[in-house]
């Protein structure tokens, strides 16, 4: 099958099997920043934004996203122009193996857009769908708090 949809601001045509999951399609087309940890909709390594909402891309049929808008962690920020959340993850020591990190940052990005000043409990709940086995989550939570504060300051200055 073929369909057109937009990833990180670029509309392009994707080729895929009729029953293919969006995660697999994205990875097959070079978006390897979207990670495959379980294909069961539990680990959260494949979280992307679908029309600005965080979803596990392994639970979405590619055929269902025709014409829609997808953002991966590279759409949030890149190595040369990182987003404040990505910088905060680096500074807080929240990245160990980094396999869960793209999904984690995408989930955090979605949270902070909805709720710029989340409590610790709200951060924990927002990240409940993202498994990490390396960090124990402590520095991830700290990174989100750090990013939230900096984003608020940045927006306050604008």
């Amino acid at each position: 099958m073929k369909a057109e949809f937009t990833v990180n601001g670029s509309a392009r045509t994707f080729t895929f099997e009729p029953d293919e999951r969006l995660l697999i399609t994205l990875r097959n087309h070079g978006y390897t920043e979207v990670k495959n940890g379980c294909l069961e909709g539990v680990c959260g390594a494949c979280v992307i934004l679908l029309n600005d909402k965080p979803v596990n891309s392994c639970q979405v049929l590619t055929a269902s996203v025709t014409g829609q808008t997808i953002t991966t962690v590279r759409g949030i920020g890149t190595l040369h122009t990182p987003h404040i959340i990505q910088e905060a993850f680096v500074e807080a020591g929240a990245v160990q193996c980094g396999f869960c990190t793209p999904g984690m940052i995408t989930a955090a990005y979605a949270l902070l857009r909805e709720n710029p000043d989340p409590s610790e409990a709200e951060i924990k709940n927002a990240l409940d769908g993202n498994l990490c086995r390396c960090t124990g989550y402590v520095k991830i939570i700290e990174a989100v708090q750090r990013a939230a504060q900096r984003l608020r300051e940045t927006q306050g200055n604008e």
Binding site: E33, A45, F89, A92, V138, K139
Partner: protein, 774 residues
């Protein structure tokens, strides 16, 4: 404390931004053109003989390029344990056997043009099984009429006890003093049995491998491995392919925790590439990881200790039964560490006996798992110390302080138990366990809360503690090596065999080199674990990287420093003894003059008597200095439902000088949360036929951010004189303590003792009921 420029600083992990932006590649992120995809057929039976395999329909299936099984793959005995050579694990495995030994054991492999086609073809393989009696109970494994799992040709590669006729994968027995004397001197004896259970490592990246031939016809293996050099050696042996024609590349690894110290997939993909001359990709599904890769060995520990009224321990007898599952990978060494990493903590005991046995069963295969036996052993020991101190009416902390090993002291156990051989005699040169205990007790409010049973409705508050030690590498066995060279601008390449699997070892090794050479991590380009390009290292296991590989990096950088001084002397005519390395330069202490590393590099490379400033160094250690930990848990037990709520935990670690305190804390926090999750949620559930029924994240719960209690972590000040800049290990120790501390806290709250985790409401409820509290 020593003053450092780079050591002890929270330098940013050098690969973290590239990971946070999704830039860095893991194994499955490499695009390998025209790769075949591999799928594995697994045994549905716990124990069976394969009478026949008919692959004729599968071979005709769409896209199929090859089908592999016992009929067409040469059976070369080996172990999948990625350990040093010769491996201390028994040679009891071949690529495809005529016998299957657990539900999930591999039977056949299909190589096809797509994963879908490979999986479709699996369904067309006809296997005729003769079902054999299964063996599930490790306690019965050594009985004369127990089913036998392994054949007569299976053997140990080193002279150790191995007896497949008794399903005995390994046995370790040591002792000193006189138990009978200890018994007669005791005022009371505490004899209890503890069960540590199965668990999955749950690295979020599943085991992954890609193989292909490069332009020169050499076999390239990109693998999610903790042990690239061992993988190269084992693949060469099992595939009978020259080692010189194999290159193992370690990209970014999505967590290991011991799971990827196993060489299981590399030889399968390599076999396909060698036979079919095509690239191959093998990525395990999450279900395959749970079911067919490796697990934490379940261990039953019976601990018997005699105690005098004055608190003296008159004897200790530890009887350990390790369920190795269907194969004996790490069966000897994890078993050894159940004693070797645990018993030296109580080094004043004069009468001691340890008997450990690892037995085969028709259940999933154990393996290396962070903690490596110490987790299982400390679950028993810490509860035992809690029971004894309560009987003595002595505070747990005071009791531990009275008995634990201290600086300047040794334990006979260090020498008695090694890794399949004798261990080494060593004296503890740094131990800040008292400081750990004191910090943790303050952080948790031990004095105010212990034994108070503060009640709020149905909930009762409890508080518990646990302590542990670990090691830093395997003495006289583990070796790490490093090489370095200078570049025109005074930057350095640092090539290490050490295997960063997400721990941050690339970063801390750069900090160690940077401390010697006066440069920051931005001036050190680290390449780790490429068997063509970096020197050897045993890999990421046994908490060895900081201590062993770090030692190699330090030596290597010191050799580079000497060459830099040579050039400075030639350039400036300075007296060598006046030279020190300062910030990116050599400084003459006498005159205050400096010359930059960049000028030195340019002089050496282009100006006169040109040469490359370069060096390499290797490091082994005659001892394995233990880090220490104290861990405290505060929780509520709901007396009506049996539900346990974790409120807060406090953890203090003595890891020597932390090279990078933020990364060290991260290691401790990650290990502790894994330990909490193991204690509270994780378990393998089997049918009566040995079939794992919860091989999915949706059924096998691991902790998320939402499950966290309040977490306090502290690295105490410490200095280990034998370590690089005072460092010991930190990666494993944190996982050993939560399960016993929680059990001790549950007892503190409600007076019932749980000898087996996870501490789910049903278990706690049943224990309360049994104790007559409901």
């Amino acid at each position: 404390m020593k003053k450092y420029t780079r050591i002890g600083k929270a330098e940013l992990k050098i690969d973290s931004l590239s990971l946070a932006t999704g830039n860095h590649k893991f194994t499955d992120d490499f695009a390998v053109k025209d790769s075949l995809h591999l799928a594995l057929l697994y045994s549905p039976h716990a124990h069976a003989e394969i009478l026949d395999i008919d692959d004729s329909e599968a071979r005709k299936s769409s896209g199929v390029m090859g089908v592999f099984h016992y009929k067409n793959v040469k059976p070369i005995l080996h172990t999948t344990a990625g350990q040093g050579f010769p491996e201390p694990s028994p040679y009891d495995t071949v690529l495809f056997d005529k016998k299957v030994r657990f539900v999930g054991d591999k039977v056949a492999m299909v190589a096809a043009k797509s994963l879908k086609e490979a999986r479709e073809a699996l369904k067309k393989i006809r296997v005729e099984y003769k079902i054999l009696d299964p063996l599930f109970d490790p306690e019965k494994a050594m009985e004369a009429d127990a089913p036998k799992l392994h054949g007569p040709d299976h053997h140990a590669a080193i002279p150790v006890t191995y007896d497949p006729d008794k399903n005995l994968a390994a046995e370790v027995e040591i002792g000193f003093g006189d138990l009978k004397k200890g018994e007669s001197e005791a005022d009371f004896i505490v004899d209890e049995t503890y069960h540590a259970h199965y668990a999955s490592h749950c690295a979020i990246e599943p085991h992954s491998v890609k193989t292909f031939f490069d332009e020169m016809g050499r076999l390239v293996i990109i693998s999610s491995t903790q042990v690239p050099f061992h993988a190269r050696r084992i693949v060469s042996k099992v595939c009978e392919f020259p080692l010189a024609k194999i290159r193992v590349v370690k990209p970014r690894i999505g967590g290991g925790f011991g799971a990827k110290q196993e060489v299981m997939l590399e030889q399968l993909a390599a076999w396909v590439t060698i036979k079919l001359k095509q690239p191959a990709t093998l990525i395990l599904s999450r279900e395959e990881v749970f079911r067919s890769s490796r697990t934490r060995h379940p261990v039953r520990t019976r601990l018997t200790m005699g105690v005098k009224k004055n608190g003296e321990i008159t004897f200790l007898d530890m009887n350990t039964l390790l369920n190795s599952g269907a194969y004996g990978t790490h069966a000897l060494t994890v078993l050894s560490n159940c004693g070797a990493k645990v018993l030296p903590l109580l080094n004043k005991i004069e009468n001691l006996h340890f008997l450990g046995r690892s037995v085969y069963t028709n259940l999933p295969v154990g393996g290396a798992y962070r903690g490596y036996g110490a987790t299982q052993g400390y679950f028993a020991l810490n509860q035992h110390l809690d029971i004894i101190s309560r009987k003595l009416h002595v505070d747990f902390i005071d009791f531990v302080k009275k008995h634990h090993i201290r600086e300047g002291e040794t334990s006979q156990v260090f020498k008695a138990i090694g890794e399949g051989t004798e261990g080494v005699t060593q004296t503890v040169k740094s131990c800040e366990l008292d400081a750990c205990l004191d910090w943790g007790a303050r952080a948790i409010g031990w004095k105010d809360k212990r034994g108070k049973r503060i009640t709020n409705g149905d909930k009762v508050r409890g508080i518990g503690a646990a302590v542990a030690m670990q090691g830093s590498g395997i003495p006289l066995i583990d070796m790490g090596a490093a090489s370095m060279k200078i570049n025109d601008d005074g930057s350095f390449n640092l090539d290490v065999g050490a295997t960063d699997i997400g721990t941050g070892s690339d970063t801390i090794l750069a900090q160690i080199a940077g401390e010697v050479l006066g440069v920051g991590p931005d001036k050190i380009i680290v390449l780790s674990s490429d068997t063509d390009r970096t020197p050897f290292d045993v890999g990421a296991y046994a908490s060895s990287t900081t201590y062993i590989s770090g030692g190699a990096v330090k030596k290597c950088a010191e050799k580079i420093r000497e060459q830099i001084f040579d050039v400075a002397v030639t350039m400036k005519g300075w007296d060598r003894k006046d030279l020190v390395l300062a910030e990116e330069s050599v400084k003459n202490r006498k005159t205050g003059e400096t010359v930059s590393l960049s000028d030195i590099a340019v002089f050496a490379l282009y100006t006169k008597d040109q040469f490359q400033i370069q060096a390499s160094a290797s490091h082994t250690a005659p001892e394995s200095p233990p880090p220490f930990i104290a861990h405290f848990v505060e929780l509520d037990v709901d007396k009506r439902t049996g539900k346990v709520d974790l409120i807060r935990v406090a953890t203090a670690v003595d890891c020597g000088q932390a090279i990078n305190p933020v990364l060290a804390e991260g290691q401790v926090e990650g290990a502790v949360v894994n330990g909490l999750s193991y204690a509270m949620a994780e378990k393998y559930v089997f049918t009566s036929k040995g079939n794992l029924i919860n091989a999915h994240f949706k059924d096998y719960k691991i902790f998320t951010a939402a499950d966290l209690p309040e977490m306090k972590t502290h690295i105490v000040e410490s200095y280990e004189e034998t370590g690089p800049f005072g460092a010991k290990s930190v990666a494993e120790i944190g996982i050993n303590v939560s399960m016993p501390a929680i059990a001790n806290a549950i007892y503190d709250a409600v007076g019932v003792r749980l000898f087996q985790a996870p501490f789910t409401p049903d278990k706690v409820y049943a224990a309360l009921k049994k104790a007559g509290q409901l």
